[in-house]
Every structure is written in C-alpha cells, then in structure tokens.
Symmetry: D2
Subunit: 121 residues, 4 copies
Amino acid sequence: MHVSELQQLLRDFSAEREWQRFNTPRNLALALVGEVGEVAELLQWLTDAEAAQIATASGDDAERLRQRAGEEVSDVLAYLLLLADSLGVDVERAFTDKLAANAEKYPVHLARGSAAKYTDL
Amino acid sequence: MHVSELQQLLRDFSAEREWQRFNTPRNLALALVGEVGEVAELLQWLTDAEAAQIATASGDDAERLRQRAGEEVSDVLAYLLLLADSLGVDVERAFTDKLAANAEKYPVHLARGSAAKYTDL
Amino acid sequence: MHVSELQQLLRDFSAEREWQRFNTPRNLALALVGEVGEVAELLQWLTDAEAAQIATASGDDAERLRQRAGEEVSDVLAYLLLLADSLGVDVERAFTDKLAANAEKYPVHLARGSAAKYTDL
Amino acid sequence: MHVSELQQLLRDFSAEREWQRFNTPRNLALALVGEVGEVAELLQWLTDAEAAQIATASGDDAERLRQRAGEEVSDVLAYLLLLADSLGVDVERAFTDKLAANAEKYPVHLARGSAAKYTDL
C-alpha cells in the first residue's frame, strides 16, 4: 500500500468518529511518545541477543512477541502519519528529500562500516 | 510510494554503508526515541494555537518550521521502518490488522465525538 | 529527603530482589522511555487549560489525576536515578554543574521573559 | 541536597528569567521527552558491554561520555521536577508511596532474581 493510502485510512477512521479536533500537533506528539514508550517496554529487559531473535524465532512465545511488536509499531506509525498531516508535511516527499540529504552527508566511501558517523546523525 | 519501497530504500542505504550490524532492535528503538525527542523539541514551547498554524501559515518562518517538521518526521519514520524490519514485522499487514481491531474496539456509534474512548486507546 | 537517600532506597529495593543485573544503562534508558510514555499519555488529550488545572483543582477526578501523575513522575524518577547509578553519574554534582552552566548561557538580563532562548536550550 | 532544594533552585532560575509562564504541564512533558531523547542518543549505538563500562572506565573518552551522561541526566531531572511542580505533585511523598506500593506488588520471596515480574512493572 502507498503511504498516502495508509494516511487516507487514518483520516477516514478519525472522520467517522468525529475525532479530528483531537488531532492537533501537540496532542499527536504526546500520543506518539506514549506508543514509543510501549515499544521500549517490549524490549527493555531483553538482552541484545534475545531481541535479535524475535524476527526469526519459532514457537508460541516468539510469535506472540512478534505480534505485539507489530501492534506497537502500527500504533507509532498511525500517530506519526496523523502528526505529519496535522503539520502539513508531505511524508513521501520529506522522506525522499531527507534520504538524499543523508546520502550526501554520509558518502559511501567514507561511511562504510563505521559507527563514527552515527555520532552526528 | 509503497511502504515496502521506502523500506527497500532504507535497506539499500544501510547495505551500501555496511551499517546492517548496527540495525538491531534495541539500537533502533533508542534511535527512534532520539528522533521523537527532536519532534517534541520542535513543539515544546509553542501554544496549541501556534502549533495548529504550522500546517497552513505562509512566510519564511512557517516554511522553515514545516521543513524541519518534515525532516524530523522522516527520521522517525526511517528508524520505525528499520525497527519493524529488525523485528520481522510486516508493516502493512500489522497496520491494517491493528486498524481493523481499533474499528471494532471503537464502534462509530459509540465513539463519535467522545474523548472518553481515548483513555483506553 | 536527600537525592542520595532516594538512590539508596532504590539500590536496596533492587538488591533485595536480586535485580541488579537487570539495571544496565540501556535497559534502564528503555525503561525510562516507557515511563515517560505514561506521563505523555496522561496529558495527550487534555487542552493546555485543562492540564494547567490539574495542580489546583478540587474534586475526585482532579485528585485521581494528581495521584496518577505522582505515580508516573515517581516511576520516571526511579529509573532516572538507577540510570545515573549505572552510568557512574553523581546526580547532585552533575545537576548543580549543569544549572551553573545554564545560568551562564542564559544571563538574566538577556533571557528575561523571552522564549527565544528556548530554541537553543 | 534535598529534592526540595533542587526544586527551589529550578524555581528561582525560572523566576529570575520570568520563564514561569512557559512551565506548563504539556510544555514540560514535551521538553522532558526532548531530553530523554538525548539520553537515548548517547547509548543508541553502544553494545550492552560498552555501555556497562561507562561508569568505571578510565581515559579521556570515558570521562567525556560520563560528563555528557551527567549533563543529559541533569536535564531530564530538571524538567521532571518542574513538571512535578506544574502538576502539584509532592515528589518525595509520591516517590516513597510508589516504592511502598511496589514493595507490596513484588514481594521479595517471589520476585527474587526473576525478570518475569518486570512484565507487569
């Protein structure tokens, strides 16, 4: 699906419930923080090794964790797209512009394999 | 653009720089928090009324603020999509599943215009 | 109570439960984010005017909100102090040093009443 | 120093600069998020092992990292204490109440050494 389709689904969802007036930039920024907090809670007591296995592990526990991760990521994405809307941001254009700027900022031949660049990201 | 295209751009960007090993769930969750912090900084001293005008105001200041908002939203989106990848989450599927679950949780005829539902969101 | 007493209470609490090995910098940073997310949720759908009344309003609803705010602030503080411990940070010293640095950065005669300084905070 | 002394220093700092009107609950919650974002950035690309060494490592790099960690922790603490003020929260009382509640929720003989309890924390 296009990003713009996801946004339209969210707009329709809000409009049907007459929730648009709650969708202000500061409300949505705080709501975004709430959902990012739930992503953090999911990972807070796992070791790096345990967290790395979530993507591929089999079994009920892993499946449940992946499921919950999907829900939290979706909540963050929903509030992020609504926030972009509330700020008049064209997400696709902003995204590709930013990626182009980063490509210039971190040239392949200088950035390769180095975490150093990250300090300025 | 499809969400999956954005994800592919990010994967290519990381692969070219050999940064994949940095893209672990906990690294990306912390990076996501860093970028959400920048979104928050953008809005922290604005009144609700001032923030509401960002989307539509004209003039250099408004244009600059919208531009910066676009950059921060893009950074959050980039880390969110990389995080989803690192967790084995299919973003489109998780998103539409979650929206369907929310539609059931907040039926239109009950939720209309009420902020009450938000307390359980 | 002294900040150091609060820290000692937290250390004892962890030690009694043999939880010290969970108290690593990155675990605690993520846990801190989780609790900050709960603070944000508390305020996300309130208007600025409604939020400003929490401190002084009377009645059961206001009392309940203030109670919950106290719990969330405490959770953030607990993880922040444990995080400081895990990073070898002397909180009181760091705090007074930072305040002195800010006093120099924002001289009273220049900063008075202006939100402009905030952009560089 | 007492927590209340830290709070008084912050109140004086704000009053001298006539910044009190900026210290609203939602402004301070967003500012808190901004500073937590900087804590996260400090730790985002470190391994758990690298982060664990910050507290005790010697050398200029370690010293610099510890110094910066102290600054970020201080910024988070400052906004947290101002936020508590803006919400009418008595920090010391809320903190000791919450710790007592947690002591009941996680009895020593059940919680010892187990990360399981964390899922409900």
